[in-house]
Amino acid sequence: MDLIWEGLREAIHILRTGDNSVWSITLRSLLVSGSAVLISLVLGILGGAFLAFKDFRGRNLVLSLVNTGMGLPPVVVGLLVAVVLWRSGPLGQFRLIYTPAAMVIAQTVIAAPIVTGFTAASLRHLDPRLRTQLYALGASRVQMLWIVLWETKLPLMAAVMAGFGGAISEVGASMMVGGNLAGETRVLTTAIMLAVNRGDFPVAMALSIILLVLIFIVNAILTSVQQQEKR
């Protein structure tokens, strides 16, 4: 019990003083996972729309693969991305390993299937007559996708939240491809791991509290966007 109170006190102290570069670490977490989610959103909406509207052979197989991807173990993603990005790997000459870019790549691999799966599922549940009607009214493809996405705003925001939650809370991949470098690739989750390894539990608790609050704030904002004009 002591640890929880100590953690809370430490969290407040750290937040007030900006100790342990907590603000830059928090900002980095937000930027890395935010970029990953934005990229995932683009990939996921295009991929999801394609899977929902296009009939092709093997669509069920692709859908199953995407659904499997929604549960990809981050540590496996980390290993695969690391093997590719290591200097000895196929993309080694780009020197991406142990950079924030590598973490964005890994987190995109984690988040993109989640967004794709959610998008495909919600678009398929849409009333097919809406599309027929839009066609009849002469909507272009882009216009149609835009309107259809607007109609499925609710599940889409849920997709963003799920993707963001998956990206910002994973530690295995970030550790492996980022290397937990102070001031460069140290994010909240890897900083928590380091504090635990050092036996510095109050700091670990403090960072955990900050991570939870951060996820809450982001989700609160997304939820308020999601629920807007709905009533």
């Binding site: 200097r87 102070a182 635990v196 390894n197």
Partner: protein
């Protein structure tokens, strides 16, 4: 619409906070130790500090060359905080940006073997031989040493405290079947522990009281602490770790010497290796400046230095029978 504006305001606030803090990066994380003149001794086979450190002057970063160096090292150099003290000095003086990948020595050596790192700071003399022989590890130099210690619960269920030899202590633990935590990650500490069991002609593998964590030193210490188990540790990580109730059960056996060496990775073997950068870091580690930081590191916090600076000494003079003991 009102809600959206509030949301945007929060985002803007968060961003401005974060950006403001960006400048003061790594503040408390990289605190430097204050030089004091306290005696610096550990329980290891005490070495007369004969010979002066080799006068090495690292070459500053070349214009146009790669600025990043990847340093593969053991968890102990990071968990103790030594690198947090050394690296800012190196980065400021020499101009390179060091990316520290703290893993077990086994993995650090593997990264060197594949050319995935530019310079290695490791502590498994026996295993280092392979890289040196293959001309992958260049110009291996002695940096510092401390010693390994055997830790256990205060109650000392296997009555280890009476022994003076690590082999005898492990035999006592084996016979008692007392809980023992092994790193099991092929790190320098793990290699030493495995070698000691072999020396004692015992095989603890598969025994119910013998468990492997597969994690770094700091993490494994926490596991041993929770399980009231015995564990081998380097002295530095033990002293720097917090929230432990483990006590030293055995120390001072010359077999427990823990020797750290630095070597750069050959740019001839791997085209992507930053040769000048790796060499600059290796030179820095044995420079007078780095050695004097190592000498003082931990004195203010723990009342004793965590490492004994050894640059310029021979492996034999600190008690290692062969350079690859």
């Amino acid at each position: 619409m009102k809600r959206l504006r509030i949301g945007a305001l929060i985002v803007a606030l968060l961003l401005s906070f974060g950006l403001a803090a960006c400048g003061s990066d790594n503040g408390a994380d990289k605190a430097t130790s204050q030089p004091t003149s306290a005696a610096t001794t550990t329980a290891s086979s005490s070495t007369p500090s004969s010979g002066t450190p080799a006068a090495a002057t690292p070459t500053p970063v070349e214009r146009g060359g790669p600025k990043d160096i990847i340093l593969a090292t053991t968890t102990s150099t990071q968990d103790t905080g030594l690198l947090d003290t050394l690296l800012p000095v190196f980065e400021e003086d020499i101009g390179y940006n060091v990316k520290v990948i703290a893993v077990g020595t086994g993995q650090a050596l593997a990264m060197g073997e594949r050319g995935d790192a530019d310079v290695l700071l490791v502590h498994a003399p026996g295993s280092e031989k392979k890289l040196v022989d293959a001309d992958v590890g260049l110009d291996r130099r002695l940096v510092m040493h401390n010693d390994f210690i055997l830790l256990g619960p205060e109650s000392d269920p296997a009555a280890v405290k009476g022994t003076t030899k690590a082999v005898d202590a492990l035999t006592a633990i084996f016979n008692k079947g007392a809980a023992f935590i092994s790193r099991g990650d092929d790190s320098g500490t793990d290699k030493l522990e495995k070698a000691l069991w072999k020396k004692a002609n015992l095989d603890p593998k598969g025994k119910s009281w013998y468990e492997e964590t597969g994690q770094g030193m700091g993490a494994s210490l926490q596991v041993a602490n929770q399980k009231d188990a015995y564990i081998m540790s380097d002295r530095g990580t033990f002293l720097a770790a917090k929230s432990l109730s483990l006590a030293i059960a055995l120390e001072g056996d010359p077999a427990l010497l823990n020797v750290y060496s630095v070597m750069s990775v050959s740019p001839e073997k791997f085209s992507l290796v930053n040769g000048p950068g790796g060499k600059a870091f290796a030179d820095f580690m044995v420079s007078d400046k780095a050695q004097s930081i190592i000498k003082e590191f931990g004195v203010d916090k723990y009342g004793q230095a965590l490492f004994i600076a050894d640059a310029g000494k021979t492996y034999e003079s600190i008690g290692l029978a062969t350079p690859f003991g």
